[in-house]
Symmetry: D5
Subunit: 150 residues, 10 copies
């Protein structure tokens, strides 16, 4: 049997061999590039139709077993270690490590005691042109969920 991790590697390799972009696959699937990439990276489940469409965009004809894997709600978590070693991903972890208590203080001051949902959540990654060097812009919104008194 193929595992989900092996299927992810197969998808990434075919994407490179075929020269297709994540936004192209997203268009075929009918969702944002952020959602589609996360799904193909093994973090979100697809419907059969979405999986078939993604396969076509990649030039792949997924087997029944591969489709079942893509349709399964995955055990989420995309990193091999609790502290990521990849520099790009580490920088995001560093933001949480260094500014985590700051974000907590400001969100709680503005909203009261609660959290920002990571489930009712959107993410948008874009380029911000800047003469001093273009910037990566990450926008996240999550519904504020107040702690319920019980």
């Amino acid at each position: 049997m193929i595992t989900r991790a092996e299927l992810t590697e197969k998808i990434v390799a075919h994407k490179i061999m075929r020269g297709v972009k994540w936004s192209d696959i997203a268009a075929a699937v009918g969702h944002s590039k952020e959602w589609t990439t996360a799904a193909l990276m093994g973090q979100i489940s697809l419907t059969r139709d979405q999986a078939v469409a993604a396969g076509h965009a990649l030039g792949l004809n997924f087997s029944e077993e591969e489709l079942a894997l893509l349709m399964t709600v995955p055990y989420r978590g995309s990193l091999p270690t609790a502290v990521p070693t990849d520099p790009l991903i580490y920088r995001l972890y560093e933001v949480v490590s260094v500014y985590g208590t700051t974000m907590k203080a400001l969100i709680e001051e503005e909203f009261g005691d609660g959290i920002m949902s990571a489930i009712d959540f959107t993410m948008d990654i874009s380029r911000e042109a800047n003469p001093a060097g273009d910037r990566v812009k990450i926008e996240m919104t999550g519904k504020f969920l107040p702690y319920k008194t019980f």
Copy 2:
């Protein structure tokens, strides 16, 4: 001697006792609320003047030793464990854990091989009104730094 962690607790307790907001302190210091909170949480160093101003806003007259602590570039890292236990902060960690490889794939596709700087970096936390429940909005921008060939 007082430690930096004890000074942080003292600052937070006085903020509550005095009923002052982070944005009020920020106005006194002359920077954004995000930067000022991070500085008082022990993640950024202040100048003597900024430290004195923050103290006044808190109703505190920092000692020479406390000022020295606030002026020292801190050993950064605001969390007691590698995986945060606080639910609000954990949700941010979860975003990195679940969507880290997705963010990496999309940033690299858009910009090429490199990272988003966590140093030449800005952060903005705001409320997004929404009839289905207000949302926390976090915007981060970081300069894209391409890997240099050597």
Copy 3:
């Protein structure tokens, strides 16, 4: 040889391909959906008859070796890391992390020094309709076991 983990993946894939529900398999096996799912997930051993029945419900004809695996008392523990990364499972871990000392204080006040058994234990997962959004309801009961004086 097939491993227990591979057999679990095979069972889950066939469940999806066949479109059968856990409660259907449970009916075939003759136990609750909670018990049956845990058994097929590799946490409880089945008898030969139960294993054969589960296989039929999944459209699978288990080999002798696969039956032996299903009949073996497993080395229990269903998660790849001590702190789970999957958000659904993490929320349960968060309850233990945040409210663990609270539960300890209240159980001990009510019952005296002892524990709630996780062996003489039942679990029931159901939907609680709610106009503000349906709720997941988890009921657990475990026999109270007082510490024996020796």
Copy 4:
């Protein structure tokens, strides 16, 4: 300065010396025993009035600094290690470790892809009389939060 952990120890010691029950303190505070215990254990913030009332029930007159600690939204997490060593709390962790994937499978089959909220969450701990030995009953409900497509 007193730390939050030291304040928790002081509260627990006075509770024992005074012979008061969590439900008595809860009545004074005006919330459930579960919520009140969690708050005094350092996992939930109290208002000034609630803190003062809890103090009176314990025979304690909290100082301004102690009140500020009780009013601060805490850095949540009540256990000294990621895997708890206390047997009562470990049994709850064991349930997550052994039955975590089972709970995930059943919640997802019933509700679709999403989580049970640990924020919009209630918890009730009670005694279930049973001739074979009384049972601890833990009921949790959390709002089902579906993953949002973005």
Copy 5:
């Protein structure tokens, strides 16, 4: 305030200074030496009378606060690290590490699927005379608890 760990150190130091044995203290308390030692080591709670009696045997007059600590059900776990560094205690851990799967296999073959209780549990430590060198004998009995089908 004194912590439980500091109280344990005080008890051990007074035991040495006074030259009293654990079995003497146990006789004063009215329980086995195993139970009494565990209680004074901070793993079991004492009643007020037991705590007072233990104090007398140690030549100590415990304060109200110390009595409250001894009467509190402790957060159990007596070792500073998950893998013990003390050689005597490590040898016990080694037995679990090396022979754990063997004990599991044999208990399950004899009793079926279940566990040996560590709560309804007794422990006896004694000397076994032997011409080749005396032996430490540890006898443990724990009630067998079968997994309940639910």
Copy 6:
């Protein structure tokens, strides 16, 4: 090449398929059930004759390579993690975690400074009939080894 771990799984599967007990295999090998189980679980090396005899009792004809694996002194340690997740084995670990300092105090008081050997060691696992529920009895003896002064 087959690994030792795979050989252990093969042995356990054949034991179940053949319906043979550990004590039957032990009789064929000529040692106690405790020793024989530990050896087949990969913690003790066998002689060629013992390995062949164990194979016959299991209905297996071990290859030369499998015999070599069974004859190799193994890298000992039977558990996948430092803190075991299996509930039966965890209870044994819990005994060490909770009562470790107690056992240390009592052994040292009786014998002086030293350890109980885990090498010159015997283990016996048996059933103790009890009207309140049968008990698992584990007896261990280990030679006392005093610290040598050097």
Copy 7:
């Protein structure tokens, strides 16, 4: 499918079998020996032409799939554990462990608050002849990136 780790092992084995040096491969690829080695070790992505050229220098004709792996931006991190066990690499880790706070103090005194980039970074490894024994010389330069005030 071949994994990136297996491809690295294949490259290293062929380098030894062919008796070619890293600087020879670097000359074929058209970059420094440091950059080329890092790329073939799986830490930097190559273009198709660079990958083909490296293959020729190694006497290897990479398959389409192997080329795709070499062209993928890798999940960086070359070591199997957070603390390296290999003595050569450990010595570099030791420098960070022992002198890390020193380097931080000196860089911050010279440049102000900021970091040395590990992305806009060069590395040069050379031999320094010395009558007391030749020395390994490692020169690193990284652009200084000041913390941006936001």
Copy 8:
């Protein structure tokens, strides 16, 4: 008693209050700024004269006990965690994590099997002017130590 860590904090605070530079203290001590900083950071022992001289440069008159601490060979290791959280120090760790196997490959190809000493070791940190932004330059040399055949 003061601990070494508290003495380090005292030294750093006085350095800031006094406005003195590491190179000034180094001149008073008579060594490089790198060596002197490491010594005052608690990683190298000083002679009595060096310690007294450093104290004078800092405006401090060390007590006998403080001098003893500065003269003790320290238990080296300057970071609170195995993976550093401070961004400046993390970047150095990242270099080891990402390029460690590359450095190993190149040093071994040039020198044969052995290591670069971290004891017979020098370190120099300087500013490299660059129109694209000044660069931090770190030069390390360590004696090559070949593995001895035994």
Copy 9:
């Protein structure tokens, strides 16, 4: 109360202030320098007379409480982390890490299945003059303990 760790620091500081050598203290105590150093470092218990003698050699008059600490069998383990950060001690750990399986293979070939005791154990540390640079010589002997068949 003073802790054992604080007492160790006090002993080391007085040894430096007094300018006395470990072998001098050992002569006063009447044991080897290895044994005496380990005892004063908190790894071996002393008798009252030995403790008093060691104190005199250090110019210290230990209090009753300090004597009790020195007479207690310690919780052994002298290092703050599982992997030591101090370079001198790390090199010893490295020997175990790199050559551990080699030592196991050779001891088992010579002696059969068993271990070298770390309890019936001696250690001798000396200087070996060598024109190419003096060498540290560590000799350890431990009684061979064969695994007992049970």
Copy 10:
């Protein structure tokens, strides 16, 4: 491709099947049994001639790929976990854990500040006859390397 770990297992299995001793292989290779065992265990690289000779002594005709693996300088570290679980190897780790600070104190008193090299290092393992039971004798010598002042 065969991995280095698989090749080690193959070598050990053939050694047992062939009944050859490490000292026999060492004689064929022309080095000590300690060095030869470490090399075949994957911790030291061999020349082609040494590898071929070792193969002949084992009755193995290594393939080109296997020879390349034996000739590669390995990523050193022979143990699967930071704290070894095998009792024989653990005892060596225990010596470092318990006596590490003692060894540090004595080496530094004799030699000054520096380390014992683990590279310019020899190891000798032998049997010491003793009427009270033969002893394992481990002698290590390592060149003393003083810290260089820079």
